[in-house]
């Protein structure tokens, strides 16, 4: 199947046939977190970055918000999420504060890494959120080990591991997914197939049509979902999580989507045919979901504006605080290389 043939609600396999629709509270949560992700990243990439307030690079997941939100919204606190760099929704749902995130991007002492590392490299064990490193796919074996620890201790917990299509070309994807499959550990692998790894299109990344096709080689289920449909992602993730909890091992879910930006804020993506952006704009996951909720009366007239107002207020407040937060002390450079008691 060609990724550009993906039509909303028309994915082969009929993944949109929900096993059971989520309760309204979850639907509201999905919309809130997708919109919060979009606005947060808009402020970082289009406002603060251009104002020179962001230190270093910026990588956003515009157009891909449904994936992290759909997959994480129902995860339990004790489950562990290993996001990639286009999964801001995962950080938000896990409970990382907006102030912490802005402070992180502005290299402040109050950021998630206290100024030691930048942008999306955020983690917090108290939130069961494990940060990735820039060597993409490294978090796949790590997630396998997280799942392994659950299996060793007989804990009812699941690890959710995100990565992009480019990461699947690295050896750690193979080693990690294979080991997770062999040891049957409770991990769900979620690929954001946004069809570009920096400037490299999918056909230069792999000679198979779908990332999910690779699952067969590991003896685990692979499933393709419309990554711009939050309910489709939610449904597939819920089934994979249930499978993992039941002791049946990992699942590979491929979410077909599109990167609606360049690789990073300095990349104009001139190598991407414009018509692809136009095509995928029509499939925008937030607009689609807003239509879905409005048509079904889940959101009352004016409800969306209310959410936007709330989000803008929360973000404005967080930026105000983070901008006043201090930079780390130069002496901090030498701290925390090793355990200091």
């Amino acid at each position: 199947m060609n990724v550009n043939d993906v039509k909303p609600h028309a994915v082969p396999g009929g993944t949109i046939q929900l096993t059971a629709p989520p309760p309204e509270k979850t639907l509201h949560g999905m919309l809130y977190y997708m919109k919060l992700t979009r606005e947060l990243e808009f402020r970082i990439e289009r406002k603060l970055y251009r104002q020179g307030k962001i230190v270093g690079g910026v990588y956003v997941g515009r157009g891909q918000e449904a994936i992290a939100v759909g997959a994480c919204i129902d995860m339990r606190h004790e489950d562990v999420v290993c996001p990639s760099h286009r999964d801001m929704g995962a950080f938000l749902i896990r409970g990382m504060s907006l102030r912490t995130i802005f402070a992180q991007y502005m290299a402040r002492k109050t950021g998630a890494t206290r100024g030691k590392d930048g942008n999306m490299h955020m983690g917090d064990l108290n939130l069961n959120l494990v940060p990735f490193v820039s060597m993409l796919a490294d978090n796949i074996p790590v997630a396998a080990g997280i799942g392994l620890s659950f299996k060793i201790r007989g804990q009812d917990r699941v690890a959710l591991c995100f990565f992009g299509d480019g990461a699947t070309s690295r050896g750690d994807f193979h080693e990690g997914v294979n080991m997770a499959a062999v040891l049957k550990v409770p991990v769900v692998f979620i690929c954001n197939n946004n069809q570009y790894a920096y400037s490299t299109p999918l056909e230069r990344q792999m000679a198979v049509a779908n990332v999910a096709d690779r699952a067969e080689a590991y003896g685990i289920p692979g499933e393709i979902v419309d990554g711009n449909d939050v309910l489709a992602v939610w449904d597939a993730a819920a089934r994979a999580v249930e499978r993992a909890r039941g002791g049946h091992g990992p699942t590979l879910i491929e979410c077909k989507t599109f990167r609606m930006t360049g690789h990073s804020a300095h990349d104009d993506a001139g190598y991407v045919p414009r018509e692809l952006f136009e095509l995928w704009e029509e499939r925008d996951p937030i607009k689609r979901f807003e239509r879905y909720l409005t048509e079904r009366g889940v959101i009352a007239p004016g409800g969306i504006e209310e959410i936007d107002k709330r989000i803008n207020r929360e973000i404005d407040e967080a930026i105000q605080i983070a901008e006043k937060d201090p930079f780390p002390d130069p002496d901090d450079t030498l701290k925390d290389v090793y355990y200091e008691g």
């Binding site: 562990v80 206290r114 490294d138 790590v142 080990g145 299996k151 060793i152 690890a159 040891l183």
Partner: protein, 324 residues
């Protein structure tokens, strides 16, 4: 009381820690049913079961990556590299994920990576290497290289209990050649502390791993001609015992740096810098290095013998330095 070999000492150390702390588990290639390529984990599968002695696919990167993930969840994994040579396959996980985790986000990664290293066993280029310096050059890691059965046991225990990632280089040549009587009680050897193996007054030989025995053999022969060597066994390379290094140099005023690793970028270079920066005025002669040449480890016995630093090398250099 029975003598315990170096390899058995490692096994005992792991075994005792596993009995005491259920967070400790082993994962690696052939560690379970087979008991490990060198039998370090022999009998453990029967005692601890398949979820604490875990046979894995041939995937060094995933072995270390999985150890990291489990450690983040509060476990104390021991990842076995079947040969230290294969640790290069896990280089990225060790140096990027494990070593930098605490610094980046405050999450310690208490893993032990066991790496059977060293030559003298005709293993050739891929079963004889001493890759310690890649890791010594990585802040956030600890690196140890025991030379005695006592240290092998004491350091594996210290490594397992350590809150940071420890690369444990165990020398294959010593596995069954070195044995001693070990105390019955629980003991650890602190990481970062050197040990004087022979007290002497004329020249200090600073070394580690199997080369400790090369230095001691040379010292015994040189004793007959009135040259008195002090032999300092570093035991840990990262962190290393700076105080012990400077103390011995200040005592003897002449120093030979000896290691089985190759020359450029070897640990001797770092030691020479520290000595010249901090004890220059105590030196009565040039700092001398004895190392393997800058080649891969060769296979054929005459080649490997040429490659490895020998007792005769230490004797020759010590005589030159003594006469200086």
């Amino acid at each position: 009381m029975a003598l315990t070999t170096y390899v058995e000492a490692i096994r005992q150390g792991i075994w005792e820690e596993m009995e005491k702390d259920e967070r400790v588990f082993v994962l690696g290639e052939d560690v379970g049913i087979y008991g490990g390529a060198f039998k370090v984990t022999a009998g453990m599968l029967e005692r601890f079961g398949e979820w604490r002695i875990i046979d894995t696919p041939i995937s060094e990167s995933a072995i270390v990556g999985a150890a990291i993930g489990a450690a983040l969840m509060g476990m104390r994994p021991i990842a076995e590299m079947q040969f230290a040579d294969f640790i290069s396959c896990a280089f990225d996980q060790i140096t990027n994920f494990a070593a930098k985790s605490r610094y980046r986000w405050g999450a310690g990664v208490p893993i032990v990576v066991r790496a059977p290293s060293g030559g003298g066993v005709h293993g050739g280029p891929f079963h004889s290497q001493n890759p310690e310096m890649y890791y010594v050059h990585t802040p956030g890691l600890k690196v140890v290289c025991p030379s005695t059965a006592y240290d092998a046991k004491g350091l594996i225990k210290a490594a397992i209990r350590d809150p940071d990632p420890v690369i444990y280089f165990e020398h294959k040549f010593l596995y069954r050649r070195i044995k001693e009587e070990l105390p019955a009680d629980d003991f650890v050897v602190p990481i970062g502390k050197a040990a004087i193996r022979r007290h002497g007054t004329d020249i200090s030989v600073i070394t580690y791993g199997a080369m400790v025995y090369t230095a001691l053999d040379a010292a015994r022969q040189l004793e007959k001609e009135g040259i008195d060597l002090e032999v300092l066994d570093l035991r840990s390379l990262l962190p290393f015992d700076r105080e012990a290094v400077l103390d011995t140099v200040k005592k003897t005023n002449k120093v030979i740096l000896l290691h089985e690793d190759t020359r450029i970028g070897g640990f001797a270079g770092e030691l020479a810098s520290v000595i010249s920066e901090e004890a220059f005025e105590y030196l009565d002669g040039p700092i001398r290095r004895i190392t393997a040449p800058d080649t891969p480890v060769p296979y054929s016995p005459p080649l490997e013998e040429f490659f490895l630093p020998k007792v005769s090398d230490v004797i020759r250099v010590a005589r030159e330095l003594y006469a200086y």
